[in-house]
């Protein structure tokens, strides 16, 4: 009904004053309730007795002493689009992934190319506890106790040729096991890459477990990498192929949005994502945000890899 003149409004349309006043009071009290509950939630949620028993390694260059994120949070808040794009999709849908038997194809600039069984690859390797920070490009972070070993240990076994300058990793791409593949959200299969010296750095690891237990499917079972000084999407999950190359690989996120995601994607508070700032992050379990640190706080160990490089250009 077009209100042409004020008298067009029938008195039946006019809200009784009591209801009108109640509405305003309600909105005010709703705001207060919200503020109150927000404040009440200021308790940090970190590892505690509900988590798997875990003996932390002593603090050191490979082990932060910060509070561990709880096992529940690490295993229910995931980005693994092959199982769906919501944060709870991977934990709900990754049951269909079969981590064994698992084969890894190794090819490219190596002398020992082949299709290896994962358990054969892992024979004789000592797993270590590594407690790393993980910083997602979205602006949240966790502290995760991985179980793994340096990438260099396997790369050395494959005997790279002199032409090997980069390592490319590929995730499983099986629609039978991964329901999210039916949607072309990204250009499957998921591919990531590192420069050779980044992959050979002692901080960069293959991970097979967390909290001392087998890696859950939603966290990238049975084999993933963890590169803690880069945004989390570079830590490729459920790896089925390792290829050494001469040319720089094109990671899937770079392919999806080359002006937003770069090959290096080093954590850097001074280089914003085009659509959001990277200056702050929310540590899962904490209420207030924290300042993000260059190289996710691993600058002492890795800054040397990039000396002389313009980190804004090579983002």
């Amino acid at each position: 009904m077009l209100i042409k003149r004020p008298s067009d409004i029938p008195s039946s349309e006019i809200t009784p004053e009591s209801l009108y006043r109640n509405r305003r009071t309600f909105l005010k009290s709703a705001a207060l309730v919200t503020a109150g509950t927000a404040a009440a939630f200021a308790l940090p949620r970190f590892a505690g007795p509900q988590d798997p028993p875990y003996k932390r390694p002593p603090a050191g260059p490979f082990n932060t002493d910060e509070d561990l994120t709880s096992y529940k949070d690490i295993t229910t808040y995931n980005n693994f689009y092959e199982f769906g794009t919501d944060k709870d999709d991977p934990s709900e849908n990754a049951g269909s992934l079969k981590p064994r038997p698992w084969k890894v194809r190794v090819d490219g600039e190596v002398h020992n190319a082949g299709l290896y069984d994962l358990d054969d690859l892992l024979k004789g390797i000592t797993q270590e506890d590594r407690v790393y920070r993980l910083r997602c490009v979205e602006g949240w972070s966790m502290v995760i106790p991985w179980l793994g070993f340096p990438i260099s240990a396997l790369l050395k076994r494959f005997r790279p040729t002199s032409r090997a300058k980069y390592v490319e990793f590929t995730t499983l791409n099986d629609p039978q096991q991964m329901p999210g593949l039916s949607r072309p959200v990204l250009d499957w299969p998921y591919v990531e890459g590192l420069r050779m010296d980044e992959a050979m750095h002692p901080l960069a690891i293959f991970a097979v477990g967390l909290y001392g237990k087998q890696l859950p499917n939603q966290n990238g079972a049975p084999l993933r990498i963890v590169v803690p000084w880069k945004y989390g999407f570079k830590s490729c999950k459920s790896i089925v192929r390792i290829r050494l190359t001469e040319k720089e690989p094109v990671p899937t996120w770079v392919r999806a949005a080359p002006h937003e995601y770069g090959f290096y994607s080093n954590v850097n508070p001074d280089v914003d994502h085009p659509r959001w700032s990277q200056k702050f992050e929310r540590r899962i379990g904490e209420f207030r945000k924290r300042r993000t640190q260059i190289f996710n706080g691993y600058g002492d160990q890795v800054a040397g890899l990039y000396s002389g490089m313009d980190l804004r250009k090579h983002f």
Partner: protein, 215 residues
């Protein structure tokens, strides 16, 4: 009871409670720690999507009314529109407090820097005059023509809201595009009603001309 009384005393209160349910659901889950590992993000997302949804419902009332003839639907539009403003306020408050802790310098620097925040903020600001002029007394004072013109701002808010959503997702554009599709439909019907007299008029004239020409 007259139909008008039924609406005022039975249906409107019921709808009011229904509109509160998302807020109550959110509060209950927050309190019982049932949200995800990142509950602040969940609150932001949920309040944002419900703002969009209430905007869509508000915009759906006129097309549904025209097609179905249920004029009494109009009596619900103000309440649903105000709920869009309510959830929009919660959403903004989540950003100002839970995201930025009322650090006004950071916020003022952020708004122009992050395009999706600029668009979202502007869309919210446009809702303020609409909420402020929602009462009968003020509508009377303003006069119907001016009031109607002002309230067309809701079209811009809704479009801005969809763009805000589209600009903040990483790669999965499905949901923002669905809202965009619904909005295009809702705005499209209005466009149709505006153009119809001209189109129908032209068709009639064409018909008359061909009759005259003996065609």
């Amino acid at each position: 009871m007259t139909p008008g009384q039924r609406i005022r005393f039975i249906f409107k209160p019921l709808v009011f409670v229904a509109c509160l349910l998302p807020f109550l659901w959110l509060g209950w889950n927050w309190y019982h720690d049932n949200l995800s590992a990142n509950p602040i993000d969940d609150v932001t997302d949920t309040t944002g999507t419900w703002t969009l949804r209430f905007l869509m419902v508000t915009l759906a009332i006129t097309p549904v009314r025209r097609i179905s003839g249920w004029n009494r639907l109009l009596q619900f539009r103000r309440m649903i529109g105000l709920f869009a403003f309510f959830y929009g306020t919660l959403h903004l408050f989540t950003y100002l407090y839970l995201d930025q802790f009322f650090l006004w310098e950071e916020i003022l620097a952020d708004i122009p820097k992050r395009p999706f925040i600029t668009v979202g903020f502007l869309s919210f600001v446009l809702m303020i005059p609409l909420a402020a002029t929602s009462t009968d007394r003020i509508a009377k004072w303003m006069g119907g023509r001016l009031w109607n013109r002002l309230h067309k701002l809701v079209y811009i808010t809704a479009i801005g809201g969809v763009i805000h959503y589209l600009w903040l997702v990483k790669a999965d554009v499905q949901r923002p595009l669905i809202y965009g599709g619904i909005l295009a439909l809702l705005l499209g019907t209005r466009l149709w009603y505006v153009l119809k007299p001209f189109l129908v008029g032209r068709m009639r004239r064409e018909g008359a001309r061909s009759e005259v020409a003996g065609g």
